[in-house]
Symmetry: C2
Subunit: 271 residues, 2 copies
């Protein structure tokens, strides 16, 4: 069972085990500025980079259905001039991080150590099921099925739900609002979050939808449990379907705004 | 001579040469989603991660001297509640990218391919000179002196000026404004930008100060030439002094806001 204080350890990767089935073996870690450990954080080779970030503009869909970014031009290029703009943006817009503080008294986004934002990625592919049922949820059985094929989820790793929703980001299917306003898209089941917290050592979870919880949820138990345990979630990831089930390493370029509850992030996967 | 259209090639690393003197050999590249090339983009091992990002808050110094980010609370955590905030931020605030569009008709920040934001870093250490003369400039001779020690600047690489100014970010020395309002901090000399454009193949330049050009500049020739050639610059980097002169690989988590002239970025170095 992970106590609330476990977020204090987010910055240290504790596994001594190589990432099974992956080209990037994450075997140890250090705090920023600490002396190099005997074993590397990861070893290559890296053959390609996949951009897991959607382009953000005022039309990007949001959970509320209301635009969450506005852009204002401060300066337009003239002779010897400059182009400069200002954004006003809700911290939970576009491809973005939920820091523990979003749903708990846990760390703000700027308090997450660099090492906690980088790790080996397990991709759980639920596209076939989600195509038939947009409310489908990632369960402990899905995690066990992944492990049967690829080995135990790597300690210090990150788990992504690939629902296929990244391709719907510019259609009404992304929110999936019905006539009563209920949203419909896949998410993590509460028991999957509990399994990861209690039985595995995973630092972050990723969805290609608008919420860690499935669209119809009104109680948001995954947000409550996962963020409440000091872990982070990433929502609205792009291009997960371009990744292998195991072997990619994710780098989450979360904004470092003081006291932030999260924020639009630039996210890369090294494969 | 790099023609303006050279920015079209930013997404492809063309070197077949290993990064001399570094632990990460960048040897080839591909577009996002392309088939893996025969040689890896980079190979490890990576022993530590250095966060090159300053924490951003309304007190972070700016070129103009005026605050460039405001934060508004949209929701505060209550029972079953959420913490959510909104930022209004100038694109050129904190540790941030200057996209070519900032000073030219070149690409916006969201048009820079992922591969153009990652590369081997050469760190030019001018701390001793800058301590005695805050207006010092990085010249072609400084680049040649680095090459004498570490080999030719890697094709597809990134060049950073380490002036020591990262440590001044919370003091008046960071802007260095004198009684007449003239700023004083180190930057690149125009001839260094010309040398890199004409004689080397470098995708980005980095400073730990408020501007690619030195503080007293009023004509900003480095911005004009470098960004005008379709390249990017990163300003207000932190912790450059923690990096080796060669061997680090930088990952610039630039925001992917449509049409952006740049923006606050999360920047990591893998060492």
């Amino acid at each position: 069972m992970c106590l609330p204080a476990c977020h204090l350890h987010l910055g240290r990767w504790t596994s001594r085990r190589h990432f099974l089935g992956g080209g990037l073996g994450i075997v140890a870690a250090s705090a920023v500025g600490a002396a190099p450990p005997a074993a590397p954080l990861f070893s290559g080779p890296v053959h390609r980079i996949v951009d897991l970030t959607h382009t953000l503009d005022p039309d990007f869909p949001t959970f509320s259905g209301q635009p969450q970014i506005t852009v204002r031009t401060l300066s337009s290029l003239g002779p010897d001039g400059w182009n400069v703009r200002e954004w006003c943006v809700n911290e939970h817009t576009g491809t973005h991080l939920d820091a523990p503080l979003h749903r708990s008294a846990g760390p703000a986004v700027d308090a997450l150590p660099a090492e906690s934002l980088i790790g080996p990625l397990a991709v759980i592919d639920l596209r076939a099921r989600a195509a038939g049922n947009p409310d489908t949820e990632l369960t402990p059985d899905d995690l066990r099925a992944w492990e049967e094929q690829h080995g135990r989820l790597p300690a210090g790793g990150i788990v992504a739900l690939c629902s296929g929703w990244g391709a719907h980001a510019r259609t009404t299917r992304f929110r999936g609002a019905d006539n009563r306003g209920t949203l419909h898209f896949p998410g993590f089941h509460e028991e999957a979050a509990a399994f990861l917290l209690e039985s595995r050592s995973v630092k972050g979870i990723v969805v290609d939808t608008l919420s860690l919880d499935p669209g119809p949820s009104t109680s948001f138990p995954v947000h409550t449990r996962w963020l409440g345990a000091g872990r982070w979630g990433l929502e609205c990831a792009a291009n997960l379907e371009q990744l292998p089930a195991s072997g990619a390493t994710v780098v989450v370029g979360a904004p470092k705004v003081a006291g932030g509850t999260g924020g639009p992030s630039r996210v890369f996967a090294f494969v």
